[in-house]
Each structure stands twice: as C-alpha cells, then as structure tokens.
C-alpha cells in the first residue's frame, strides 16, 4: 500500500480527497488502479501524469518501483520551451 498525494484538480475529481491509498508496486500498476478506482482520472492519465517519488519527477517510466513509505506525488505533465 502506498499513499499517493494528488494535485488540487485531481483531488477534486477524487471527491475532494488530497491523498489516496493504492496497492501498487510500480508506476504502471499505479496508473491502472487509479483509472479503475477513479474513472474521472482517465483523461488526465491519457494527457500524461508525472509521478514524483521522493521529490524526483518521473515522466514516462512505468517500471519505476514505488518504495514503501516513499513520498509519492502526482503532477500534470508539462510542456517546456
């Protein structure tokens, strides 16, 4: 079980929650379970969500493991210049 913190807008879709608990070992499983439990997330996942694990931002790495007790934070995927 990992605790995942949602950014403001995603929290609104999760019924006002800012954190959710998910049983997931890596980023891929996290996205799959999030989409199952919160169908409203799907467009966001399609558009791209970045995952910050203990402050390091991962954009595209499904296999990245989610260590127990790590701080996991979801962020919108960004564009740069």
């Amino acid at each position: 079980m990992v605790e995942v913190t949602l950014w403001g807008s995603l929290g609104a879709i999760a019924g006002g929650k800012s954190k959710v608990e998910i049983e997931a070992k890596d980023i891929r499983e996290l996205f799959r379970k999030l989409a199952e439990q919160y169908p409203g997330f799907e467009p966001y996942i399609d558009r791209g969500i970045a995952v910050a694990i203990d402050g390091t931002i991962y954009r595209d790495t499904w296999s990245k493991e989610l260590p127990q007790g790590a701080e996991i934070f979801l962020l919108p995927r960004l564009a740069g210049g």
Partner: protein
Amino acid sequence: MNFDPRYSGRNFTSVGTRPIRPDGVDKVTGRARYGADFNMAGQLVGRVLRSPHAHATIRKIDTSKAEKLNGVKAVITAADLPDLTDGDAAMYDILDNCMARKKALYDGHAVAAVAAVDARTARQALKLIEVDYEVLPHVTDVDEAMKHTAPLLNDAIFTEGLEEKPVRPSNVTKRTQFGHGDVHEGFGQADYVVERSFKTEQTHQGYIEPHACVASVSADGTADLWVCTQGHFVYRQHCAQLLGMEASKLRVTSSEIGGGFGGKTHVWAEPVALALSRKAGRPVKLVMTRDEVFRASGPTSATSIDVRIGARKDGTITAAEATLRYSCGPYAGMWAEIGAMTAFACYRLENVRTVGYEVLVSRPKTAAYRAPSAPMAAFAVESAVDELAKEIGMDPVEFRIKNAAQEGTRSSYGPVYGPIGIGPTLEAAKNHPHMKAPLGKNQGRGMACGFWFNFGGQTCTDLNIGMDGSVSLAVGTVDVGGSRASLSLVAAEELGIAYEQVKAVVADTSSLGYNDMTDGSRGTFSSSMATISAARNAIKILRERAAQMWDIPLDDVVWEKGHAIAKGEKYGNLAALSLREIAAASGKTGGPIAGHSELVADGAGVSFATHVCDIEVDPETGATRVLRYTVVQDAGKAVHPTYVEGQYQGGAAQGIGWALNEEYIYGKDGRLQNPGFLDYRIPVCSDLPMIDTQILEIPNPNHPYGVRGVGETSIVPPLAAIANAVSNAAGVRMTHIPMSPPRILAAIEAERGG
C-alpha cells in the same frame, strides 16, 4: 541495461573546459545550413493564405481561379488535410491550427495554401483564392474573455475542474489548483498582508530565423522533410499522424536551427508543406515571412494575476495565494496551470494556494516560450514579495533568504525538494559587489528569484568508434545552443580521450531511435546522460577486445584515461592499450565497436536563479535604461561554462525585452498591429549593458556529473527584477508589463496627482 544515473563526485578532465564548438567554423563562414538554406531539384514555392479576421466562419473557399493560373501546381484547403485524429483532441487542435477547418480563429490563421513554380506566381495565386467569411465578434483580452458576456470562441467548451459541472459553455477551458496547508488560517497569523493585481502582455519568442521547411512526398508514400525544429522526432510523429502516413516512411532531418526558445516545438507549416508536395508531386519549400511568424506562430500567454501574501513582523511568510489567468489563443492549453505550479516555488510555505484559469482568446495559439508561464507568475509574486519586505521594513534579500525553500521543503506544487540552489543563489547575490554599488539620482535597484522544473525524457544516442580511434556521436536532441560541444566533452570525459577526437552530429529520424523535443532545458541533461551510458557500454566492449588481444580474463581489464590496463602483478609487462590501438585491431577482434543507449532520463534537477539589476528612469519621459545586470544561477554542473553563461545572458536579455518593450498590440478589429521587428522591438546591442553571470554548481543527485538543465530559468526573474528596480527608481509600484515609457509616465503622473 544497468545504467546507474546517480551523481558521483569526481574530478573532471574535459567537462568544465571551454573548447570551440564543432559546428562553429561553418557558422562563422556562412556555410551552416538553416531551414531556408536547403533546396531540392524541381522544388516549388509554397505560400499560405491567412485570415484577416480575428474570428470568422468560413462559409466557402473557391480556389478554381488560382488553380488555373499558369505555374500553380497545387492549391490546398482543410479538405486536403482530412481529420485523421481519431478523437485525439490535442492533435485535432494542431490540425485546425495548421489549416482552419470551419472557423478562422485569429488574425493570421491559415485557410488555404498554394505551391507554384516561383514566389511571384504563388503570391498571385493567393490573391485569386476567394474566401467567403462571416465575420463573428472576437475577444483578445484575457480578462474580457472570461466575462459571461464575452463572445464564445468554441461553444463545445465547458470549464473543466470546477466542483459543479457547468451548464453553460465558456472561454475558460480549465481551472486548476495547487497548494497545501490552510491559507485562511495563515493569513490570520499575518501582521502584514500585501495584495496586488498584475498584468503582462503577450510576447513572441522572436527567433531570428523564421519557420522554414522543404517537404518532398513521393508517389510511393515515402517522404522527406528538412526543417528547422527543436524536435524532429516529434515533428515526424505529428506530421505522420496528420497526413495518415507511417512514421518510418517519413524521414525528418533537422537543419541548423536559428533560435527556437519553445517556438519550434510545435508544427505549423510542415503538415501544409507535406500536403502541398503530396498533391503537386514535387518538393515544396515553405518559408514563413516575419509577418507570418508574428501573426501565426509563437507567442506566449498574456496574463492577469492577483497575488496575496502575508507575513509576521519577524519576516516569516504565513500564507500566500495567487489567482492566475493565462490566455491560450483559441485552443485549450495548460499555461495557467504551469504558472500556478511555479508561482511560489522559491519559498518555504506552510500555507499556499494557487488557482489557474486557462482562457481562450482570439489570438494565435499560445506556444511554449522558455520556462513557459513562469516569468509572468514570478513577476507578480516577486513584486508582491518586494512590497511585503518593504512594509515589514526588511531588506528584500534578507526577507527572501529567510523564506527560501531548502532541501526537505514541500514545494508549492507538491513534491518535497532534494538538494536545491535557491538559498545559495540568494547568498551569492547578497555578497555580490553589485549589491553594494552606489546608485545615482533616478536610479533603482531590483532583484528577483526564479524557478524552473527542467525536464528529462526519452533519449537515444549512438557512439561509434572508427578504426582510427576517432569517435562519432549521433544524438537525437537538436542542438539549440552548443550542445554538440557539450556532448562531445561528455563523451571525451567518459572515454578518457581528447575532445578533438570526438565529433557529434544530430542524426535524422531514420538513423536513430526516438528522442523527445529539445525543450524544458533537457538537451544537455538528457543527452549527456545517454552519452555517458553509451560511452560506458562502449568501454565494456573496449575492455572485452583488450582482454581478447591480451588473451586474459575480462575481469582483469580496467579502463583508465582512455586506455585498457591489465590489472594485477602478473601482467606487469603488458603495456596499456589505447583506444586507438584497440580500435585499429577491431576488425580482427569482433568487428566495429560502438556503444548505444536508449533511456528515459528522469530526475532532471529543478533550478533556481537570482537576478539583480539597476535601472535608470527618466521621470520626464518614462524612458528607462538598464545600467547593470547580474545573473546568479545554479547549473548543477556546467559542462561547457561559456555556453552556460550564454544561456544565462540570453535569457536575461529576452526577459529585459519583455519587461520593458515587447508586446503584441491588437486593434479594435482584432488585427495584430505590430507584426514586424520595427514595431515589435526586441532589445538591440545598444539597449543593453554587459550581463554579468555567476554559475553555482549544486550537483543534481540524479545525474552522474550532477548536471541540471540551464536553458530556461534565466528568463524567469528578469520581469520581476526589472519591475522592482523601476518601481524603486520611479517611486511607484509598476504592475503592468511591459513597462514601456508611456506606462511608466502614466504611473508616475498618477502618483504625483494622487
């Protein structure tokens, strides 16, 4: 592949030196080929017809007369670019922006295009195309567009991210929110509260090279595209998808690029050129004019931002809040969202909340511009921070130092920071001689901080070792500011050879695996990581070959300073084998030696900067002069310090232009009134002083050499730093960017009158 990206402290031999770049000589002799410098046999000239209206329904387009003109080989409209986006809303917007489908959504929106034997014929043909428009009401101002009474640009848009689903369509596509703590409670603890509203006008990236490409589609469906772009692999994907081609059949070669700054991350003319070439059966060259560049490509958002910050008497910020409204042009974007994430990123805050609104307006589609969205948010926040420091009676540097984020701080956008450089840049600025230099009459000093995320992303690199021991490095990230030099340094460093022995090139899309754009300051960060990884893979092979040449076990061979060394007393008499020697024997030891790397570079370190500047304001005219400018920024590790300085200086100069001069001016008719460098004035040499730089190196723990991105952060602080300096010089708070002479004069006069 087990590549360990973690930082390991080491002494560098090549990295950190300042050699001449490999593409340099071609660029000083005029030999380097940019977008418009390439030609193909039998090539036609492509030109685009653009809407003169800010908002209009396209009832009918009659191209028959143009088609009959002698020398015209193809005329296309949206009908020639059918919608193949399959419900992908973002791609549909790109398609619609390349060629308007039902409505023209801004002055300059493409509605048709021609390919003809020469430019004159093409221009004549455009005049013969008849477009029947029904002009609709438009709105160009971001605040106006948010009103219920504003003309609707897209009646299928209902604001996303609201608690209750809206019943009426709106120009606001999305609301986003970030933050933590309880701002209400935080403001309750404050002894001082500053609340201000700010506006910034729309600016253009202003790259000197207009968009240019040459497209050639063959009858068998394969195609070549030569183009100036920040990301040829992404262009390939987008063009292939929009034209219904297989990506592998479209080979995209990136030319030398004459500046991009985010503006060349989006396709505009390329799908049009391909569609023209497909229809005409001949290569088509399409080069935008400067007028088209301004009207139809780029720009950044115009914004309107409210900020509220509270602090205790001792200078501790207790709460911070901002509402940010960013214009997106006619298509949904995430510009306010980025602004909302970055606004307070420099500070350690218990209670913070930011809300962003994405707003549609009748202007060209907003494109990324160097640390997109961050400069405007920093302008608003850093101006308010200065005000608050003043109210408390604290020095603005001390106030910022007291509240600066540190390792372990929860950032305003969510995650907790690792080791970061905001504190050190502030300390360095505080101790800089610039801070103590005397100021004269009508002169003011200002400072501000800035933050940018920096990106990583998908990256692929090939490192091939020739039989003569020279190394060619093929990278897929476009070189926008000297990255071929930096990456050659990295390869030389890792292999232990001389910089001159390495030659880096940017490979085309058929020669290398996929690479993300060079955006988000990722070029050097990601490709250096992939280069290190490729070099390490090559070293493994070099060791194997040496072991073979010596006929000893691989484990007994180590790689040091460009040589294989047999480790252990028993090999005492074996002379080290150089890379050259191993390469020369490669034909007999197993063939060519190469190292490849495909990876997702994650963990790009966030970077911070602090800028200080002195401005003189003429109280009679409102004219300004930049007297002195200093940039302090964390680079993680400066691979080629001269180019890092160049990035700092270039970003600062763009920020100075934005702060003082540059803006899109729209008439009541919704037409852009200044689509040229004469009226959209970017800083020239005589407008600027030397720009001092100080590079700090706080290693990024997620890169072997500690590299962070450096390209973007430098444009974040200038708007605010200059606004603070002008405000101090003029004795009145400036809240509207650009601070052009009339705006400054009006502010001074209002202050005198009031």
